[in-house]
């Protein structure tokens, strides 16, 4: 039997329970005596709570309690986990994000909660919430980021009249960039909006708070991406409960895409109220609430300029962006437009001078935070739109223009990493190769001939390119600490070998769709040379896992997997001592393979299982060695990892209707070593669908009063299977030189690279027919595309 599991497309072990309906999500959990919460939310984007009348609601049979902001005046708000100060040194402005809006204060976005009704059933709670009479004084609101900076814009927080959360400059000094741009023979200028999108995890957020008086202990079941992080934030910053008195469990979680990283007010509220009432309290978001209260993604308004010399070499990049933070600063929000965005603006190019000027503003909208890719899709969109547009403007081939400006290959071992102008040092890269492969798959020369033919008809064709790099495997704690993170970004792992040689692996990386229960087990079984059935993965429970920083930023395998490898190394080292003692040889004479230690050059060996048993029944045992075979490790990465790739979209545009049909989507990704190719393909596919969704279908629409007018699946257009072509994917492998698995991370790549490729393809189609738009606002609806031609 082969124990080589790394690199095999092994079917996901968790899928049996998911596809047979046996997954156990938070809402499936029913505790004895459990009560149900429903929130009374602001129907206005900005309104003062003049008064709240609870009498009628409280009188309803089955209502147990109703809390308002006045009951929670002493409770802190939910904190922000990253601090980015103003360029002049002024500290980042952190308005309190209260649990509930107290009387006399103002709700700051539609959906901001003012009261919570707790009742015997969810239906009673919903009915009673309708009887809570809130007298509102409606106030003017602002929703778009650029509007927030207008002189007479409504103020989100009275104490910050300019609506700025912070501003930020990064890269080379602006004078140097200005000087570089002055020498440019051509400057491509592009003003665009990277629109706000809703993450739309399939499982809405759900929480159960439960307080056990006997042990003075709380349990929070939460649909989260990082149970330990929620425990830390809720205990230390919100409720002031000691951490050892709180257990946080993230059971099966149906997707997050970033939106379930953050600590939300509802989590703290169910926990707090379970103690007040002495009964468990559950809250499950409905879809409409999810649209209003889950943190959204993107929302940048940008002006970008890229300068070229007469030969097409990039000389400089100058950017001004206003980013929307929403009404409050969510957990990771300040990092997204800054250190996860500005640091990626080198792209794959040798651009010598780069400057970004960022203003991050408050608006009367729900908070914006990381959404699949988090800052990196915005950086990629900016760069790749500029590259294709520059090629069109200069009459150059977009692929050729990229080849000319690519950073040459470097493996990070023989050749050093590439030092960018924007702080990061890329670990390894081979950018020409992915574009070459993409062009081969496209059959580029043939395509341009077809396109020329099609330009004479009503169904025109276009091709769009996007070659991206991202920073994953977040992150080296010391580096992010110096950039304002209020936490480390290491990961922990414990590998416990049971006496019979079976293995339990405890990881801080939570799995909510990524397939850790398969890939992590592949790694462990492969390294130990034992069957996968002998290994189980345990995750998502703060009482059984030592610690965990969670799953986001494509970090699970690169950081969490590396922690597991460290523990396995310790297991094998100690096992080797036990084996040498049993085999009466020196440790150095042993080699480990196929699940056993063998004396080199002989057939004398001892199996992994026998060594495990000896460790727990240490009768014949090395002097001074502790019994047991169980090791914990913490892994703090030396650098980010830098996956990269090439995405190519081919579209057909109907000249008469403006309808865009995505004909082909080619993705050549280099995510380093691959543990399970099928799972990586799945991650790429999902990411592509979301990236294409942003380009063609998705986007929030706020009206002039700050009302989200498309807050349902009837109104918010999600990509569907029949909108998408069969994806054509391929891979290249440039291992990560600084983690033991050589992996880089694959969770976000699809969403990062695809969006600009699709938009570029539509622009290219229109140019092929003689129209010359620089930009079309996403999503590229038929009407917008038609307008660009008429």
């Amino acid at each position: 039997m082969s124990n080589k599991f790394i690199g095999q497309s092994i079917k996901r072990r968790e899928d049996k329970r998911f596809i047979t309906g046996k997954g156990r999500y938070t809402d499936d959990i029913v505790l004895p005596g459990m009560l149900h919460a429903h929130f009374v939310r602001s129907p206005y984007a900005h309104a003062r709570v003049s008064s709240i009348d609870l009498d009628e609601a409280k009188a309803m049979p089955g209502v147990i309690a109703i809390y308002t902001g006045d009951d929670l005046a002493d409770v802190n708000g939910v904190p922000c986990g990253w601090q980015v100060n103003f360029r002049d040194g002024e500290a980042m402005r952190e308005p309190k994000h209260p649990m509930l809006i107290p009387t006399g204060s103002t709700a700051k976005h539609v959906g901001d909660a003012v009261a919570v009704v707790i009742a015997e059933t969810k239906d009673i709670a919903i009915d009673a919430a309708e009887l809570v009479m809130v007298e509102w004084e409606e106030l003017p609101a602002v929703a778009a980021p650029a509007d927030a900076l207008l002189p007479d814009a409504p103020k989100v927080h009275e104490q910050f009249p300019d609506n700025k959360a912070f501003d930020w400059t990064f890269g080379n000094p602006i004078e140097e960039v200005d000087a570089a741009m002055e020498k440019a023979a051509h400057i491509t200028e592009l003003e665009f909006v990277n629109q706000r999108v809703v993450p739309n995890a399939m499982e809405p957020r759900a929480y159960i708070g439960s307080y056990d008086e006997t042990f003075d202990k709380y349990t929070l079941y939460t649909s989260t991406q990082n149970p330990h992080l929620i425990r830390l934030l809720m205990c230390a910053f919100v409720l002031g409960i000691p951490e050892h008195k709180v257990r946080v469990v993230g059971p099966d979680v149906g997707g997050g895409f970033g939106s379930k990283i953050y600590h939300y007010t509802e989590e703290a509220l169910v926990t707090w109220s379970s103690k007040q009432l002495g009964q468990p309290v559950k809250w499950t978001s409905d879809r409409s609430e999810a649209f209003l209260t889950d943190a959204h993604g993107r929302d940048h308004a940008t002006k970008a300029e890229m300068g070229f010399d007469a030969d097409g070499n990039i000389l400089g990049l100058r950017i001004k962006t206003v980013a929307n933070m929403g009404a409050y600063l969510s957990t990771f929000a300040p990092a997204v437009p800054t250190y996860l965005h500005g640091t990626l603006l080198q792209g794959l190019y040798t651009t010598p001078k780069i400057n970004i000027d960022m203003t991050c503003v408050f608006t009367h909208t729900v908070a914006v935070d990381a959404y699949r890719g988090a800052g990196r899709p915005e950086a990629t969109y900016l760069l790749e739109r500029l590259m294709d547009l520059a090629a069109l403007e200069m009459g150059r081939d977009p692929a050729e223009l990229r080849f000319q400006n690519f950073i040459p290959p470097f493996d990070g071992v023989e050749q050093p990493g590439y030092q960018t102008q924007v702080a990061l040092q890329y670990d390894s890269g081979n950018y020409e190769a992915v574009l070459k492969r993409g062009l081969e798959m496209l059959a580029y020369d043939d395509f341009r001939k077809e396109q020329a033919e099609a330009a004479k008809t009503n169904k025109i064709l276009g091709v769009g390119f996007s070659t991206y790099v991202e920073a994953c495997g977040i992150a080296p704690s010391a580096v992010v600490g110096s950039l304002g993170a209020r936490a480390g970004l290491f990961e922990s792992a414990q590998v416990r070998v049971q006496p019979t040689g079976k293995v339990s692996v405890f990881t801080g990386s939570h799995s909510h769709g990524q397939g850790h229960e398969t890939t992590f087990v592949q790694v462990v079984a492969d390294k130990l040379g034992i069957p996968m059935d002998d290994v189980d993965l345990v995750h998502g429970d703060s009482d059984t896992i030592a610690f965990g920083m969670g799953t986001y930023g494509s970090r699970s395998l690169a950081v969490g997997g590396s922690a597991i490898v460290k523990s396995i190394d310790k297991i094998l080292e100690k096992g080797g001592k036990i084996a040498a003692h049993k085999l009466e040889c020196a440790e150095g004479d042993l080699e480990y393979a196929e699940g056993k230690w063998t004396v080199k050059g002989t057939d004398k060996s001892i199996s992994f299982g026998d060594v495990a048993l000896t460790a727990y029944v240490p009768h014949i045992y090395p002097a001074g060695l502790e019994p047991g075979l169980d090791f914990s490790s913490f892994y703090d990465p030396a650098n980010f990892t830098y996956p990269f790739g090439c995405h190519i979209a081919v579209v057909e545009v109907d000249k008469e209707t403006g309808k865009v049909t995505l004909k082909r989507m080619i993705a050549v990704d280099d995510v380093g070593n691959v543990i399970n190719p099928m799972i990586v393909d799945g991650q790429i596919h999902g990411g592509l669908a979301q990236g294409i969704g942003q380009a063609l279908f998705e986007g929030t629409i706020y009206d002039e009063n700050g009302q989200l007018t498309n807050g349902s699946y009837m109104d918010y257009c999600m990509p569907r299977a029949d909108d998408l072509p069969m994806f054509e994917t391929d891979r290249q492998v440039t291992p990560c030189p600084h983690n033991p698995l050589g992996v880089k991370g694959a969770g976000e790549a699809g969403a990062i690279g695809s969006t600009p490729a699709v938009v570029n393809a539509v622009i290219d189609a229109l140019w092929s027919a003689g129209h010359k738009p620089k930009d079309i606002l996403m999503p590229l609806t038929s009407e917008r595309v038609w307008q660009a031609m008429n």
Binding site: P43, E138, L292, N705, Q707, T709, G711, D715
Partner: protein, 147 residues
């Protein structure tokens, strides 16, 4: 939501004005309104049943008449709250006597929606507004014939 409409009614301006000031008549001609109860001078409590695409429900609201100019017009301020959202509308109604038997009624205004009504009803709202406008004038014509 913008609301506007113009219609010529076959009645002298005085008669149209009297009907517009009478809560019983108003309750009959304003679409979806089932009752109108006077609570103060020029202030009424209204009950309405409305269906807007995917959203339907019964609304109770306050209706007040402002800026009353006899035989010329008034402003109608409607404020309602319900479990499916809130609406706040200010509609200016103007009468113009064309001759002894004909009066032109013009209205225009703006309704601000919030809550579920704003979130899911928006797509169909202009269609609903058009339907309601047509119904209002048809009801008015009918009331003139029957009274």
């Amino acid at each position: 939501m913008q609301l506007s409409g113009t219609h010529v009614l076959n009645a002298p301006v005085g008669r149209v004005w009297t009907m517009l000031m009478d809560p019983v008549t108003l309750a009959r001609i304003v679409p979806a309104v089932s009752s109108l109860e006077q609570i103060d001078d020029n202030q009424y409590k209204a009950l309405a049943e409305i269906k807007m695409g995917p959203v339907s429900g019964s609304f109770s609201g306050n209706l007040s008449l402002l800026n009353i100019r006899e035989n010329e017009g008034y402003s109608l301020h409607v404020k309602q709250t319900s479990k499916i959202g809130n609406a706040d509308a200010l509609i200016n109604i103007a009468l113009k006597s064309l001759d002894n038997d004909q009066t032109e009624l013009t209205f225009d205004g703006d309704a601000r929606l919030s809550g579920l009504l704003a979130r899911t009803g928006q797509r169909v709202i202009s269609g609903v507004a058009n339907t309601l406008t047509k119904q209002f004038f048809a009801n008015f014509d009918e009331a003139l014939i029957h009274e």
